[in-house]
């Protein structure tokens, strides 16, 4: 259980990036966070990762406060951020330094195999495509088997085909250990394909405007009418937050999943 309690963040330059966000994410839930740029979604993720400290409020992971990066929390950034001087395998094993060599190699190889990169371990990052590099980054984050995985627009730099393929990979990876997953994205399809619930955020200060539950069976068919109507509803909500209008009745939208 990841509990976010009254979280707010004001940067040194006075930007009020996040205002009083409270949220409970049950263990094993996949939550997508969508919103226009500057709505505080990445700020929230950085706070969850322990990379930045909140101005007020707190984050509790299974009851203990998150005050810095934690071994149970894995992070996948927008860019792969692989270390170019390490081979693919050594990159995947970066978070396993505390393990003996044999186990480290086994687990890195295993993580690479699960992102479809078995046999790529000896390559240099420069020899990978963008999608492959991001898969290595996912393998690196998941190799230590964290209970929480945070993803900050992980597929935004990739083309649509690569992205769709990675959505399947990610979902398959999630079913292995079922970590709590928070996915920040500006791709509505990505949110609906992957998440159990979608948070829509609005800016100045960043806060949660609406919550949608996505009760569609996996794998999700992007062409089904049910998918279409979830998407329409979400787009409408996003559109309103961008224009600064209230998103219907917040309460009403927070009881979702019933209307189709």
């Amino acid at each position: 259980m990841l509990r976010i309690d009254g979280l707010s963040k004001t940067y040194a330059n006075g930007t009020h990036a996040l205002g009083q966000v409270s949220l409970d994410l049950p263990a094993g839930a996949v939550t997508a966070v969508v919103g226009g740029s500057g709505c505080g979604k990445s700020t929230m993720l950085r706070l969850l990762a322990g990379l930045d400290r909140p101005t007020s409020g707190e984050i509790l992971l299974d009851g203990s406060p998150v005050e810095g990066p934690r071994p149970e929390i894995g992070v996948v950034f927008q860019e792969p951020r692989l270390l170019p001087w390490l081979t693919v395998e050594a990159n995947a094993a970066f978070g396993l330094a505390h393990l003996p060599k044999a186990e480290r190699e086994a687990r890195a190889g295993d993580a690479l195999a699960h992102v479809g990169l078995a046999g790529y371990g000896g390559r240099w990052p420069r020899e990978l495509s963008g999608g492959q590099a991001q898969r290595v980054a996912i393998a690196r984050a998941l190799a230590p088997e964290p209970s929480v995985v945070l993803l900050d627009e992980p597929f935004s730099a990739l083309d649509a085909f690569t992205r769709a393929g990675l959505h399947e990979h990610l979902r398959a990876l999630w079913t292995r250990t079922r970590p709590t997953m928070v996915l920040v994205t500006h791709d509505i399809d990505e949110a609906i394909v992957l998440a159990d619930s979608v948070l829509v955020m609005r800016p100045r200060p960043g806060r949660i405007a609406a919550t949608f539950d996505v009760r569609l069976a996996h794998p999700r068919d992007r062409l089904s009418p049910a998918y279409e109507s979830v998407k329409r509803k979400l787009m409408l909500a996003l559109d309103r937050t961008m224009r600064g209008e209230p998103v219907g009745d917040d309460r009403g939208v927070e009881a979702p999943g019933l209307w189709w």
Partner: protein, 293 residues
């Protein structure tokens, strides 16, 4: 390794400091090298065409009596002088003397430059304390130290080595400092996510990240070392390639001067190639056009 890139490198060694100041030494240099190195064997042939044509033309002109060749000896006479020097063992004595001075000065300058650069790069207070002074010292033409060094250290080896060390120090200091300051915050954040402590961050991220730029700064430093050894040997040495230059001037022997110049070119190039070869295994991962250099 591409031979046409080799020909270029001595010229680049001298330009190192200026480029260092511009702040984007490596990529620009690498692009330039890659561009000229691309044609491979044919590029080498093309690069040799002009100097060979000039040499043959001059040789022919002197042989045919069209030119005198007294102040500008033909290549054959320069080659013969070099061969004579090599046979008599003089060349080895002078080259070893020069090489010893460069190595001693380079070692001192590189170690000091790396230490101070690392200190300034890693600790902001140290940077604020040291950098203004060092930048001010850097603005002094290093040759200006010569009289002082002679007063302090005498006219023998110590003052020469000190001058070379000063020359090597600044590019290495700047290169190390710049490389540390240029480390991508995003890569450091990866280290934070995996909770690396200070030592582990230095070992697993900082050192490998600065290595390419540091090696380039060492190469600039080495190039300057060879520049300064000449200055050092001009001011009173009894052996060394720089002494051969002065000696050739006083004896009116341009062939000896040119032979010494040739020896400098070969020695400088060989030292640079050795440095590149020794460090190449650590840079195999680099994603640049010059990764085969």
């Amino acid at each position: 390794m591409s031979a046409s890139a080799d020909l270029l490198t001595p010229a680049l060694g001298g330009g190192g400091v200026v480029e260092e100041r511009a702040g984007s030494t490596r990529p620009a240099r690498v692009r330039r090298l890659a561009a000229t190195a691309l044609p491979g064997g044919r590029g080498l042939a093309l690069g040799l065409l002009l100097p060979l044509a000039l040499a043959f033309t001059w040789e022919g002109a002197v042989r045919l009596g069209l030119a005198e060749g007294r102040l500008m000896p033909p290549p054959s006479r320069v080659g013969a002088t070099l061969l004579d020097l090599a046979r008599s063992g003089d060349l080895a004595v002078h080259a070893l003397a020069t090489l010893g001075r460069v190595l001693a000065g380079f070692a001192l300058g590189a170690v000091a430059g790396t230490l101070f650069g690392a200190l300034s790069g890693a600790l902001a207070p140290a940077r604020r304390l040291l950098d203004p002074t060092l930048q001010a010292l850097r603005a002094i033409p290093s040759i200006a130290w010569v009289p002082l060094f002679i007063l302090w250290l005498g006219i023998f080896e110590a003052s020469k080595v000190a001058l070379i060390a000063v020359g090597v120090f600044f590019p290495v200091y700047l290169g190390t400092l710049g490389a540390i300051l240029a480390i991508d915050r995003k890569v450091l954040e990866v280290g934070r996510v995996f909770r690396l402590d200070g030592l582990a961050t230095a070992r697993r991220i900082l050192l490998p990240a600065i290595l390419p730029a540091w090696i380039v700064s060492l190469r600039s430093g080495l190039g300057l070392g060879f520049m300064f050894v000449v200055a050092a040997e001009f001011m009173g040495a009894s052996e060394g390639l720089g002494y051969l230059l002065v000696d050739g001037q006083q004896l009116g022997r341009p062939d000896q001067i040119m032979a010494a110049i040739l020896a400098f070119a070969l020695l400088g190039k060989a030292a640079d190639a050795l440095l590149v070869a020794l460090t190449a295994p650590f840079l195999r991962w680099q994603d640049t056009g010059a990764s085969g250099l």
